[in-house]
Symmetry: C2
Subunit: 521 residues, 2 copies
């Protein structure tokens, strides 16, 4: 898979040895619901909302935050000591950064890297012109196929892994696709990582809720890919949230240290609800995000120079009436567009967006909010997209029907990213000459030759006449999504997994679980 | 209102005398549902999908179509004679254009103009950095507030005029906001134009279904604005569809001639379902659109040099399985982005987009398709947007609930278009210093000073907790839209209209109706 980075020519660092045993043994293809592209290579330009002057103002202000106000690294003596050694001014838990220190440290971070999947055809490029869609992350609840909203279970978790595996426009298996609340808190990460390995062959994410759970994630990947492969390549991308404003806490620092040490990728993501965790303005929010990312991302390079790290942004606003988070509104879109520009200037891969919404049901509110977020996500030139499918209710619930609707929209974005074909066939002058004024193109040779691939085909949109739609039962899109979801889950087939690896993973999990009491909080 | 064009400095031609009597007499403000901006002045850049090479390929190919294939001007001897005199090669009804002829003729067309409203505060700029949202156009059916789909009536027409009048983010009253099917075909234009004048004070559109109906539209505007004002200023914008591929028919040419002669604006719009009326490719479709617009728009300049004309594009695809039109898919988005670029290069104001969808109900399909179209419409830098609110079912039905949902989204676009505030307050460094690591911004001075205007506030999105949403009856957004729509219509108050003008208009309509038999087809 080295050609993933080679073909873009954008990688700063070279890859390690060839791919692991599991990857070599893995099956060639797995998506049950259509042909898959491993990731999007965008042929369209990113959309930008800040000019050079605006970017410089924000960068200068972020430097001021880093130097004058500082960032707190809480309850982690090792982190503070590392910063001291690097030349920062540490006062208590507050780290003040001399101008340019973070940027200097970040020079060792790759601008493009490959995250390997056990099926090499599913490995993804992260950075450059690549966009990778990953599903919903972190929901304790699900909205199930019977319309119930209830706590999520491990069965739900497996189902969402299966659906992401089958969705041709979901490139990544994600991480906590929902919280398997029926499994003890201290053990569920083992079942989650195993489910990603067992039920999918797409790349996935590790646990970040405690350093030892991060170690377990790495250990299981070593069983799958081999020890050396993991230490020299990236097989996990991991979500490290800043505790905005301007704080990194012990838990996130602990997980970040584990992953960086093992050469695994961290997505350093300020989690921002503007008005609460950041100023109520776009420029102020961008400034704080940049300062937080500069501190957190450069920290990974203190741990291991060259470890992959992403510039992450989770941007939402709050209702200034109720304090509730709001999604799909214009201000967070401007924040994300701007953050993408700042990330490109830093030379880091960028994460934002997804299909975010506050709605409790997959209605037009959910869709408008999701579509506003998703269109921005693609046009901003985002490299890694969490929450791309299934997110409902401000992330509190993973919704099966919405997953299906979202993955259809992801397919549209995949097509949009291909841009305008200006080949001779794309120009279609022969067709225009053949048809001429007043005739139609339906039967002409060019149409016949190209119609199969000409237009994105939605499996969920109803484009029939009103009368036909009535005859078919006046179904709304969520009804069609429900039926399609059931049929996918019915027809799911697991990608083959080497039985020896499977056995070793199960043995590891059993041993680890035996070593712990059950904890539910 | 001359400052509308003066302040942008982009107008090519000077305005006529001051505004008309009715406009001067009209009330200062009318929107009942919130403060209105007369139109959007975009502070964000347009998004572009074609580079210089691509644009030149398409322009060269369009010139080839114009010269070699030609465009048909059907059943209009006057049009053909005008083209002959202008130097075109006319064979039968087919007009072949020497290279550069159309572009030369278009040099007299303004790149920016003002469409005057009877309330001068509602006059809109069309072209340049302005974006004007107008409602749905042309639906024979409505989906009413009781959930019935039925033929539209004049009462529905009036209701949509009232709703557009009240919606702060709908800048224009539109034209055939629905077809008042209960009024004879040959008379309904009189009731439509009157309804726009009577129930709104925003700018509106004239009838294009027959030359004499266009003359009636102009005559009624003369009663409203005064004869001289109408002849020297633009008070009507009118939709002239090409009969794609490469045909203009008698009806549309007849209406275009009337409006251009009276200095009123024509939106020359190829109506394209790619795969049927144009090639199945984006570049081929763009080429044909450009050729059609060049021919149609330059024709208006043959009629009256300097008459305002827009580069219009209605882009959709068809399902290659059923032939049904599809909306909100990636390919028409690419077409519209590209067409906007071509229009800017021609120096013509651009029309496309709206809130298009194929869904039969205002569900997530409707919303995704509409949002995809609308985000593109704004980012393309579109100047005049038909179908911005209320469009359902491929345009066959005007939907009250969707109108309300759409107008909320238009408000979001209006905010997005303001871009990033980089003022000192926008930078918010004082707030960041005041709050510091680990605290929150809710109560800080900067937040208190700015929260009223910081974020777009949706009146329809539910951002509450799941529990609160349950207590409030588990409402979907269309339920909330239904209630809001009823409350708007209940609280509607007509803007004052000079009784003498009202009387004169009613007398004109009565006299005209008396002169015609009822026609229902």
């Amino acid at each position: 898979m080295d050609d993933i980075t080679a073909q873009t020519g954008e990688g700063r660092r070279s890859r390690g040895e060839g791919r692991g045993a599991a990857a070599r043994r893995a099956s060639r293809s797995g998506g049950g619901a259509g042909p898959a592209m491993p990731y999007i290579t965008r042929k369209i330009a990113p959309y930008e909302v800040l000019d050079e002057e605006g970017l410089q103002i924000i960068e200068r202000n972020a430097d001021t935050i880093l130097e004058e106000i500082g960032i707190e690294f809480r309850d982690d003596a090792e982190a503070l000591e590392l910063w001291r050694q690097a030349g920062a001014d540490v006062k208590g838990q507050r780290v003040h950064f001399p101008k340019g220190l973070c940027r200097e440290l970040l020079k060792t971070a790759p601008s493009v890297f490959t995250q390997y999947a056990r099926n090499p055809e599913r490995s993804v490029q992260i950075g450059g012109k690549a966009t990778v869609f990953a599903p919903n992350y972190g929901s304790p609840f699900v909205r199930d196929l019977d319309g119930n909203r209830r706590y999520a279970t491990l069965e739900d978790f497996r189902n969402f892994v299966k659906l992401s595996y089958m969705a041709p426009s979901v490139h990544h298996s994600g991480g906590t696709v929902c919280e398997p609340v029926d499994i003890p808190v201290n053990k569920r990460h083992l079942d989650m990582v195993y489910s990603h390995i067992k039920y999918s062959d797409k790349p996935f994410m590790g646990s970040v809720t405690a350093p030892e759970r991060a170690e377990d994630s790495v250990a299981m990947c070593k069983i799958l890919f081999g020890d050396d492969f993991v230490e020299n390549n990236t097989v996990l991308v991991n979500l490290i949230n800043a505790n905005s404003p301007m704080v990194y806490d012990e838990t996130m620092l602990g997980a970040a240290k584990v992953y960086a040490r093992h050469n695994q990728a961290c997505v350093i993501s300020p989690f921002i609800l503007s008005g609460a965790m950041s100023p109520v303005t776009v420029a102020g929010t961008l400034t704080q995000i940049l300062a937080e990312v500069l501190a957190g991302a450069s920290f990974t390079q203190l741990i291991r120079p060259g470890a992959p790290v992403l510039f992450g942004t989770f941007a939402a606003s709050i209702s200034m009436q109720s304090g509730a988070p709001t999604f799909g509104t214009p201000e967070p879109a401007l924040v994300s567009y701007g953050a993408a520009q700042l990330a490109r200037r830093l030379g880091l891969p960028f994460r934002t967006g997804g299909s975010l919404c506050a709605s409790k049901v997959p209605d037009a509110q959910a869709a408008h909010e999701s579509a506003n977020t998703l269109n921005m996500t693609l046009l901003a030139g985002t490299n890694f997209v969490l929450h791309a499918a299934g997110w409902l209710e401000g992330g509190l619930a993973a919704c099966y029907e919405k997953f299906m609707i979202d993955q259809d929209q992801l397919g549209m974005m995949q097509k949009l990213a291909q841009g305008v074909d200006l080949s001779e066939s794309g120009q279609a002058m022969d067709a225009i000459r053949e048809v001429g004024p007043g005739a139609h193109y339906l039967g002409c040779a060019h149409t016949q030759a190209n119609f199969q691939t000409a237009f994105y085909r939605s499996a969920l949109a109803d484009n029939n006449s009103f009368e036909q739609w009535e005859v078919e039962g006046r179904k709304r899109i969520e009804d069609r999504a429900n039926a399609l979801c059931r049929s996918w889950l019915d027809s799911y087939e697991a990608p083959p997994l080497d039985p020896a690896i499977d056995e070793a993973l199960l043995a590891y999990i059993a041993k680890r679980k035996d070593s712990m009491p059950d904890a539910f909080t």
